[in-house]
């Protein structure tokens, strides 16, 4: 699941898909954290999961906000065409 996320992150050109890939990676980490926490009989992993979920939510909100702001100026969400930061 993490690998699918990485692949999507690297290969796809649609910004929304890239976001979803990032979420995918985060959630794969969450699942493995919960699994290990259960296996090791420790609550630490599960606490960390809550933090990750929180951060992911915030990140998604900010990311989408940027995306919308950008889309209003340049009607595209293809990363190939987004290069205004080129040095």
């Amino acid at each position: 699941m993490f690998s699918i996320g990485v692949f999507g992150f690297l290969a796809r050109r649609n910004l929304l898909i890239i976001f979803i890939s990032i979420e995918l990676m985060l959630n794969s980490v969450n699942i493995s954290l919960v699994a290990f926490s259960h296996y090791l009989q420790s609550m630490r992993g599960q606490i960390l999961v809550f933090f990750v979920i929180t951060v992911a939510a915030a990140e998604a909100a900010i990311g989408l906000a940027i995306l919308i702001a950008y889309y209003k100026n340049n009607p595209t969400i293809k990363v190939d065409e987004i290069n205004i930061l080129k040095g």
């Binding site: 992150f9 890239i18 990363v79 190939d80 290069n83 040095g87």
Partner: protein, 644 residues
């Protein structure tokens, strides 16, 4: 002890106060600080003089200046007969000139600056004179040079003044280089810089030689010649005399104080101070005497035809300094110092008198106020200036019973006793005395006699200078007439040569024998030449005023050479100044463009080139960033696992 410290300290305080607060607070009240300070040090100097007269010589260290291993130098004072006389000369003339400057510099924009520099000069000169070791003297030596530079270029908006200041400074550097080497050599030889220790050990190095470029040179001769190098520069002797006439660009009080009465005599003082060393080296003594004698006559010939009133007096100064060195060179140290002392008064008087003339003409709207050809007939407008001028001229030309007569005659007499070389130098000096009389009277006749050669309008506005100028003139005139009475030759008055006897503990008794008849002959010759000089000048400039013109057309070559000062300036310009300038142009072109600019411009260009390359990394492509991030993460994890 505090008394001696205060002598130089008072002018220094005046300098500090004036330079720090002058521009905003003191402004044209600067003399209220400077004059009391220098007058105070004059009074202290007089008291120090009486201490010495009472047999109380002082040699104290005030403060450890440099302590480094075996090398110890203190700031210390040595007040003996020699420095006591110098103290009196320096402080008394400074006081009068400070007062004179109140009138002369009135209304100048840099009034406070002028007094600050003058005070600094007095401080430096006093340090030079009072120091008890060579390093303090060297400090004073350089500091007076610096002040001289400031003051020559005082009117720095005039290009010629700025150039003259630079010239003085650079020419002096040549001499000071030698002086510096001399001081170093003294330290290496004696292991100390204090006068007393050096002179005590002086006998031990007689006959020692030093290998210099394959030749064996007597050590003491080398030391003396190096020291004398400095004296040549500071006292404007051949071949480094070129700066002094140009130094007349400075304000007249500066010319009087620095370039006539005090600073230029530093060389004479130094040689006299080092007399135990000089006396040991025949070669050095002869060099001093010959340089002095040649300079005396050389400068006098130039002075014959100059038209700038201050330049005539400047060349006269060079010539008189030549006399002093001549005296030192024949071993008559006290005669040299005696002439220094009388010369200070009458030469300062001549300069201040010419300053008074210039001041009057300037206020009358004269545009060429220093050109004697444009003056004339000032006698009836400026009676006081005229009278003091006459007194100073009588003194400088050596008319009997004026102070210049006693000191000049002493020198001529001592030179006459000095063997064949001495006789030859005596001849030179007597000839120079004739020329001196001629050009001094020429100056008077051109300036004060005849009819005014400016416009009628200007003539109407000429009037005598205010009392603040004339009173110092009168005081100096008193000195110019009577200063010589401390050194009446024994032939006239038993024990008349009081100054010689006073200085004897430091400078020794001059050797030499001669009969009374010879002495009277020498005196008669000097009187005859003085009167002859006056007669010739009278004939040429009063009786038959076309005569100078005729002479000029008759001997155009000689006149041109003299008028252009033997083309020495041109010679130096061609052989030294221009090549150096050209070479430095080349060096600047190469060094500056390729090395300095290479470094300065190269560093930012290198950074720029790197950043241009690295900029391409920022593609702006999110996917590229993402890829790099992923690779980075993999690498970090890889390294972490690998290191485990």
């Amino acid at each position: 002890m505090l008394k001696y410290t205060l002598i130089p300290l008072l002018p220094f305080i005046s300098f500090l106060v004036n330079i720090l607060f002058g521009r905003n607070y003191i402004k044209d009240k600067a003399h209220w600080i400077a004059v009391p300070a220098v007058a105070g040090s004059f009074l202290l100097a007089v008291s120090a003089f009486f201490d010495v007269l009472g047999g109380n010589n002082v040699n104290i260290n005030i403060y450890s200046w440099i302590v480094s291993g075996n090398f110890n130098v203190s700031v210390g004072f040595l007040i003996d007969q020699l420095s006591a006389i110098m103290l009196i000369v320096v402080t008394s003339i400074s006081t009068l000139i400070f007062i004179y400057s109140i009138g002369y510099m009135h209304g100048d924009g840099g009034y406070y600056r002028f007094f600050a520099y003058l005070s600094l000069f007095v401080f430096s000169m006093l340090m030079l004179v009072m120091g008890n070791n060579f390093l303090v003297m060297y400090f004073g030596w350089e500091a007076v040079g610096l002040c001289s530079y400031f003051l020559i270029g005082f009117w720095f908006h005039k290009k010629s003044a700025g150039d003259a200041g630079k010239k003085a400074f650079i020419v002096n550097r040549f001499g000071d280089f030698g002086f510096g080497l001399g001081v170093i050599l003294i330290y290496l030889t004696f292991g100390s810089l204090e006068y007393m220790q050096v002179f005590d050990k002086a006998g031990s190095i007689a006959g020692q030689t030093i290998n210099l470029l394959g030749y064996d040179v007597s050590l003491v001769t080398l030391i003396c010649l190096l020291l004398f190098c400095g004296a040549v520069g500071k006292s404007a002797q051949i071949p480094l005399h070129v700066w002094l006439p140009d130094a007349m660009e400075g304000p007249t009080p500066v010319s009087a104080l620095i370039h006539a009465a005090t600073m230029v005599t530093a060389g004479v003082f130094m040689v006299a101070r080092c007399n135990p060393l000089f006396s040991m080296s025949h070669t050095a003594m002869n060099t001093v005497a010959i340089v002095g004698g040649v300079t005396a006559i050389f400068a006098a010939t130039i002075a014959l035809v100059q038209n700038d009133i201050k330049r005539v007096i400047a060349y006269s100064t060079v010539s008189q300094l030549g006399y002093m060195f001549l005296a030192l060179g024949v071993g008559a140290y006290s005669a040299g110092i005696f002439h220094l002392y009388t010369h200070a008064y009458f030469k300062a008087l001549l300069f201040l008198g010419s300053g008074s003339v210039i001041h009057a003409l300037h206020h009358a709207g004269h545009h060429d106020e220093q050109n004697m050809q444009k003056m004339g007939g000032l006698k009836k407008y400026m009676p006081i200036t005229y009278k003091v001028f006459i007194l100073a001229t009588l003194s400088i030309t050596g008319i009997p019973f004026f102070s210049g007569f006693f000191s000049k005659d002493e020198i001529l007499w001592r030179a006459y006793q000095g063997g064949d070389l001495g006789k030859f130098l005596w001849l030179l000096a007597a000839l120079a005395a004739l020329l001196t009389a001629f050009y001094s009277w020429r100056l008077i006749f051109l300036t004060f006699h005849g009819t005014f050669r400016g416009t009628h309008e200007q003539e109407h506005h000429i009037h005598e200078s205010p009392p603040v100028i004339t009173v110092p003139l009168m005081c100096l005139a008193f000195g110019a007439v009577f200063a010589g009475y401390v050194g009446i030759p024994p032939i006239f008055l038993e024990h008349g040569d009081r100054i010689g006897e006073f200085l004897a503990p430091v400078l020794g008794h001059p050797e030499g024998h001669g009969s009374h008849a010879e002495e009277i002959f020498v005196i008669l010759v000097s009187i005859v030449v003085a009167v002859m000089g006056w007669l010739i000048a009278y004939k040429m400039y009063i009786r038959n005023t076309e005569l100078p013109q005729k002479m000029e057309t008759r001997f155009p070559g000689i006149h041109r050479v003299l008028f252009n000062k033997y083309y020495i300036d041109e010679l130096y310009s061609k052989t030294i100044v221009q090549p150096v300038l050209k070479a430095s142009d080349k060096i600047i072109l190469g060094f500056d463009t390729y090395i300095i600019e290479g470094i300065v411009n190269g560093v930012p260009e290198l950074i720029g080139a790197f950043s241009r390359k690295f900029r391409e990394v920022q593609t702006g492509m999110l996917s590229n960033y993402a890829l790099v991030m992923a690779i980075g993460a993999v690498c970090i994890v890889g390294i972490w696992i690998f290191l485990k």
